[in-house]
């Protein structure tokens, strides 16, 4: 018997078995590895799908907090609305003042003690006032009614410079005229009014402007000076399927409105600088944009304006931001900064530009800096910087 050959055969068998075993094990390891990798990616991908399908992914639900940018340290106090609550930014701190979640369209009195705001409900909205700390909420208008034809809207209040009156937008004209088509016009009432309703006598309500029918009405009233109000007026032109907007001035002495910008300007959201010499505003563009501008403001020139004369002050218009969606320009108390809400990466945030006053009366603006980041500020409410 040749044992050496037998050993060789047995050795060959062993080697073959070992190799087969090792190969088998290796295959399993590779297979498990591949499965784990594929599983990881699919589970990861599935999480993305679930995240998108989840309705909580909606804009307003994404961030509940306000994130401040390190780019800017704010002097004074800036008030704004987020998720229907009143917020305040001071220095590098953002503070939520209310938690009720029903606040829109804020206005802060010049002395900083009161907040006028609007609560929206199905079919109507009401004007309220409370202390700046969110306490002592009092309803000023009561436009609720069992018949929806007698319900109305209140919107965008503004305080008179002495705080004794509030001007705001409402469509209660529809009850006076019986025409439901009446849009929102500018009305004013004493700020200490309570529960004004149709069934009782309107307490000191005074109609200031009559809106053009079928435009939705006027908008964005501000009261920078005891002599006049500024607001956005909408009007149709022949052949245009939608109304165009322009900025108007309501003069208390003549009780008349005067155009501040031309009729086809698409200008809106007027805000006068603290020194009363510059008007900031926004202008709609055709591509769903809203750009930011300033122009020189001269009260007498506006009052003396005639149809044939040109808009001299409007010609001084300076474009600040010429891209994206921007709204609610808001001057700092000294007028050396102009903040505004701007759409950035899908989120409405607060930005600011420094203002330099040149000797020739022109303004020069600094670079855009963000005050908040990814904070989804409520862009329909005005801001106030005290």
């Amino acid at each position: 018997m040749d044992f050496s050959k037998e050993n060789k055969i047995s050795e060959t068998k062993n080697i073959h078995n070992n190799v087969t075993k090792k190969k088998g094990k290796f295959k399993y390891i590779v297979l498990i590895g591949i499965l784990l990798i594929i599983g990881y990616f699919i589970v990861k991908y599935n999480a993305i799908i679930t995240n998108i399908l989840n309705p909580k992914n909606l804009h307003s639900e994404i961030s509940k907090n306000v994130t401040l940018s390190s780019q800017y340290n704010l002097n004074g106090k800036l008030y704004f609305v987020k998720n229907n609550n009143l917020w305040e930014i001071s220095g590098h701190n953002a503070h939520k003042i209310t938690t009720s979640g029903n606040i829109s369209d804020i206005a802060i009195s010049k002395n900083g003690k009161h907040v006028a705001f609007v609560t929206f409900h199905l079919n109507f909205s009401n004007l309220h006032q409370m202390n700046i700390n969110g306490k002592n909420d009092v309803r000023i208008t009561n436009w609720r009614n069992p018949n929806i034809n007698y319900e109305a809207w209140s919107a965008t209040p503004t305080y008179s410079p002495n705080g004794q009156y509030i001007a705001y937008m409402t469509n209660i004209r529809k009850l006076i005229t019986g025409i439901p088509r009446a849009g929102l016009g500018v009305w004013m009432l004493p700020s200490n009014s309570r529960f004004n309703s149709y069934s009782s006598q309107l307490q000191g309500e005074k109609e200031l402007t009559i809106p053009t029918r079928y435009t939705g009405g006027d908008a964005g009233v501000t009261w920078p000076n005891s002599n006049f109000l500024l607001y956005t007026y909408y009007i149709y032109y022949t052949g245009i399927a939608q109304p165009d907007s322009q900025i108007m001035l309501y003069d208390f002495s003549t009780q008349q409105s005067y155009p501040v910008t031309p009729t086809i300007s698409e200008a809106m959201e007027p805000r006068l600088s603290p020194n009363g010499k510059y008007l900031s505003f926004t202008q709609r563009t055709g591509n769903n944009g809203n750009y930011l501008y300033t122009m020189q403001f001269n009260f007498n020139s506006i009052l003396n304006h005639t149809e044939t004369s040109s808009f001299n002050t409007y010609k001084s218009t300076l474009q600040l931001v010429n891209q994206g969606v921007n709204s609610h320009p808001t001057w700092s108390p000294k007028g050396n900064n102009l903040s505004f809400i701007t759409l950035s990466n899908g989120s409405f945030d607060i930005a600011v530009k420094h203002v330099n006053y040149k000797n020739n009366g022109q303004l020069k603006f600094g670079q855009l800096k963000y005050i908040t980041k990814s904070s989804n500020i409520d862009s329909t409410s005005k801001m106030y910087w005290l």
Binding site: L53, H59, R284, S327
Partner: protein
């Protein structure tokens, strides 16, 4: 002792053979495990759902009528455009599923070669002759065509009156629109003006008692974020507009442009499954899956193409919307001006 090597070889191979069988068994087992594993992941990850969703949306062919087949299209170049008829319906619960009133009739035309996109809104109140309709000497509003003869008749009339061939249709309901916007995460809109409506239909709550009720609506004119429901209110409201349907057509086109921009800037891999999911029960089209994919490809290649939005509004293309016939407020089309426009758009 002589060793029979051949015998040993055979012995070894005999011993190895069962191992070969074992190997085969393991391979089969592995394949089965793999199939089960991938099958599980396929179902778990939502791919099955997506495939099902796509099947539900696509391939809803509506037969072309004999009249439609015989239509001679006026513009030579119109076939180089891909023309999609977009139909937006009123609340589905109010109508028979096969005869829904179309609140929105729009032609979306894409020319991949010239990189052109047109969005043309056809006024729902256009007063036209509808085959088979007996009242008013056969005349009715354009929006009733789908109620009378379904999507097929609407398509036939669009082709007949506007002289272009419609390649596909896409229909979307109200709840579908809301879901679509929510899938996109809402939209940021600069409203054309404040929207005030004293008789906005309160019909998407699902409550049959409220189906014919109305609410007051107010949307601020300030730039704002809109959810699906808010966006529907914005594009659907018409009572507060002087131009009624024309005003809202403008808003509809505005929102479509925003959606296109969103699509251009979205990682589509992540969004497509959810998009199909949200569209599955509320969108219908006669496009096939390959056609949808092809069109998606074309859309991606047209990222920077400008959209030309057209509303066939007065005074050039139609009468003012308060023209009354038989107690109905209708719009009379100015066909001469419209055909001139279509020749300019499609004939060159």
């Amino acid at each position: 002792m002589v060793i029979d090597l051949e015998h040993n070889k055979n012995q070894i191979s005999k011993e190895i053979k069962p191992k070969k069988h074992r190997k085969l068994k393991i391979t089969v087992l592995v394949i089965v495990i793999l199939i089960l594993f991938f099958g599980f992941l396929f179902v778990k990850s939502g791919y099955l759902q997506v495939t099902y969703d796509i099947f539900k949306i696509t391939g809803n062919t509506v037969k072309r009528t004999k009249t439609e087949q015989a239509i001679h299209y006026k513009y030579d170049n119109s076939n180089k455009f891909i023309n999609i008829l977009i139909l937006g319906s009123d609340t589905d619960q109010k109508f028979n599923p096969n005869s829904i009133l179309t609140q929105t009739i729009m032609i979306a035309s894409v020319n991949p070669y010239q990189k052109k996109i047109y969005m043309i809104s056809i006024p729902r109140d256009f007063w036209i002759k509808i085959p088979g309709y007996k009242a008013n000497n056969g005349y009715s509003k354009f929006d009733t065509a789908s109620e009378i003869g379904g999507i097929g008749l609407t398509r036939q009339l669009v082709e007949q009156y506007f002289g272009i061939q419609i390649n596909y249709y896409a229909w979307i309901g109200l709840n579908g629109f809301v879901k679509l916007i929510n899938t996109f995460g809402g939209v940021n809109v600069v409203p054309t003006h404040p929207v005030l409506d004293w008789s906005y239909p309160n019909d998407i709550s699902g409550n049959p008692k409220l189906l014919y009720s109305a609410i007051n609506l107010y949307i601020s004119g300030a730039p704002q974020y809109m959810t699906g429901t808010r966006t529907l209110e914005y594009v659907r409201s018409r009572h507060g507009d002087l131009m009624g349907d024309f005003g809202r057509s403008k808003r509809q086109q505005q929102v479509l442009r925003i959606l296109k921009n969103k699509l251009d800037n979205t990682s589509t891999i992540a969004d497509i499954p959810s998009l199909f999911n949200s569209l599955s029960s509320i969108v219908r089209t006669d496009m096939t899956i390959p056609e949808v994919l092809k069109l998606s490809q074309i859309a991606l290649s047209l990222k920077n193409a400008k959209i030309q939005s057209i509303i066939l509004s007065p005074p050039k293309y139609s009468s003012v919307p308060n023209y009354l016939i038989g107690g109905q407020s209708v719009v009379l089309p100015n066909w001469t001006a419209i055909h001139k426009l279509f020749y300019k758009l499609y004939g060159n």
